[in-house]
Amino acid sequence: MMTIVKPSQTLIEKTTGLMQDGMNAVAFGEYGIPEALGDARWTDELILSTWYMAETGKIPDGLNYKTGKSDGGFDRLDFKFLPESEWLRHSEEIGTTLDLNRRGDAKRKLTCDIPWYGGGMSYGSVSVNVMMSRARNSARWNSFMSTGEGGYPAPLMECKENVITQVATGYFGVEEETIQAAPIVEFKYAQGAKPGLGGHLLAAKAGEEVAKLRGSVPFVSLFSPFPFHSTYSVEDHSKHLDWIETVNPTAILSVKVSTPHDVDMVAVGSFYAGAHIIHLDGSYGGTGAAPEIAKKNIAMPIELAIPKVHKFLQAEGVRDRVTLIASGGVRTADDIAKAIALGADGCVLGTTDLVGLGCTRCSNCEGGPSGRGCPWGLTTTDVELQEWVQPDWAEERLHNLYSAMQYRIRDILRKLGLSDVSELRGRTDLLSYIGKEAGE
């Protein structure tokens, strides 16, 4: 068997140079669109436009950067823009801030400069290089990034004000210090791509470092059971949150759930248990590994869950005391704005970050036939492959991508005559549905 070693600096430079030049050449249209690229949700044009934005910080011409071809949800929603004469001037004054603590309690008053933050991708499912680039980028946007359930690699402490500590059902890597360091602690009840099934890190990806951080044995598969074995009720859930409050009295609390038919009740229960953020993760979201049957069939897409929860929280009279965050299939700035118009306050992104760094959505993250994980160096801790994502380059890519996305959010707002993203929340009257043509 071939021994895999950390690549030499020359090899890193050669390989990353070829990969980056190639991505740019394809995104800038120097070659045709690769025929095998893309799928219904992330089309070839969405992937290439994301690469373009990550390289330039600008919106591309000639590529559809707004929607995929999934034939439903975000892809059939559009904005009812005002006549051009009534558009506001493009300006950095157009507010894009997301308020994360609406309870009016004594905990931190946290905000993000943009209406989204980074979702959990655990150490093990991605490398430290990827985590660091996401964390540093979050710091630049006064935003956040979740550790996922894999512990808190020491280098992340550099960005601790922007790192969310996740507590999930396996309690992997949950330490008192990292809870105390966190501005936000996120309880993950379920994940949209595999709701009700727990997590699974394949043995090949649970190497020495990963296992150390998770308090486990190297190269043994790690399961996060489902659900929390201590939770049968809202009261039990409330005890969880009390526990975190005892360890870190100022951290705000996020509860991540997936989207069953009673997601509205779950959300209200989470609010009464003390959550500041209710994070809904829809079924079309990303994952390091999940049964195909779960991704497609269990629970509902996020577009269908947001209005349900938003309206229920309104009816319960608590909507303005909680931040509703949507994830799971949110790909673009347009998706974010649509999610907000449907009733969310903001969104969480994961796959978009990876696509910005080169992901082609090939679905081999779980290891693939090579067992080494992502050939682009993203969802892997392989000593060679992880070097293909250098943190400085990746941080800059993400910053550019976020700049272009913020620009597009402002562009949408001004064309709707809104001066702040908070004015968009729940404004389904500003959306239209693109009906199907006869025979479609």
Binding site: G22, H261, T360
Partner: protein, 501 residues
Amino acid sequence: MLESTGEGTTTAAAGVLTLEKFGAESALIGREMADQYHRYNIDTEEVDDVDPLPHRFLVEVGKVGLAKFILSEVFHYGLKPDVILSRPCTYGVFSGPVGGFLPRPKLCVGCLRCTVQHPDFVKVLPNPDLLALGDKYTTHGHITAIDEESKKGMVPVRGQGYRGRFGGPGFDGMLTDMSEIVRPSRDGIHGRELIGTSVDIGTKPMHLSFDSDGNIVGKTPDMFTIKVPFVFDIPPGDLGTQRLAEVLNSTCKRIDTLACMNASDVLDWGLDAPHIVPVVSSPSPETAASFPKARLIELDAWNKQAFELLRSSTEALVGVRINFTDGWQETMMKAVNNRADVIHLNADLHGRGGDGRFVSDLLKEAHMLLIEKGCRDMVTLIGAGGIVSADHLPKAIISGLDAVALDLPVLFALQGRSHGSLQTRDGVKGTLPRKMTNDWAEQRLTNLCGSWRDQLLEILGAMGIREVRRLRGEFGRSMIVTHLEDEAFEGIEGYVSGGAA
């Protein structure tokens, strides 16, 4: 009804049922069952391909471009072999004896690193031969999934999120529910090893009747149990060969399920067995006697006389196959009222009834009709048509079936190829691999069953349901995309129910 004799066996109930007797009998039965218990498992094992599907991608490398690239590498990094020898593909496509000059596309997983890294001389294309498999309902996606499930016997697991369309027609428009906190069991990793997938085939009365002495009078349950909620249907079209029948026979015996076969084939090939369901069309008084081991015999269409003849000449359960064509509701009720034990409902292989409705809607109607008439438990509903993916199994059960009958998946599990449309049963044309052996084929079908059962467990586990019998007709455990859309998008300009303009 089964009752302990106190000698470790069971026999039909007799005598007065007193409270003491009930207590003693129950304890004994419980003990016996506990002693006999073994956890049901389908032994899957990866098997080699005998006629592999076309690979997913074609990899084209421009030889001149590659040669130029290698030369420039040597020029730049001459003394650094690790750099020169590094390749973009971690899957070995370019690791043959002459590297990229003779790529090995069957290893390609479509990560596209090579073509992005070298867009000037490498192309990766979807393989049109793969895309051409199947037809518009049973697509190449279904076929490749069945192929993988039958090869490995595992639940297909991949990275990244869902790649397909939002909702969709037929079963794609139905989602299954989950529970944030309820589990079938807190004991296991997911509790799924304790979920039951057995189903009962046969009939039971809606209630038991006793006389004044406590003796059971009237009908008692008449059923047997199979370990999985799916059976094999008569192979459609020209697929019904002796070889395939033998494979179905041995597979059913191994995993404890049933295979429906034309009665004449069962006779000709000497396949009478408890797990073979002969399907007869015009029975004579002697027909049933030809199948002494059968536990269930099906009549291929409703015919009162034929049914009564069969019923009176066998101890086996009697089922009736009914197509979803005009008047099926009336036919089904006639069969049930005449005490058919099993109704086997058939849509076409695209899952459509004669009126164009999809099989999930038809099954719901059948299930609800039986409930309204107060006789749902008096009959077992088996159904077929349009079931070509693991998720279709729980969805068909949610729609009202007790068990699903598999037809086309068998062809693709055995790496067969179809030719032309796969819509009508009679019209199916297919070929099975020449190199197929019985052992190989049995393992492939066993793997498919293992994989589909495990995927069913994933769905049940997510719902917190402990046995598949409880899923039957549980419409509330499904979500219909168009209903959710109506709720979510109501009032949005341009939205009309169903998404049509």
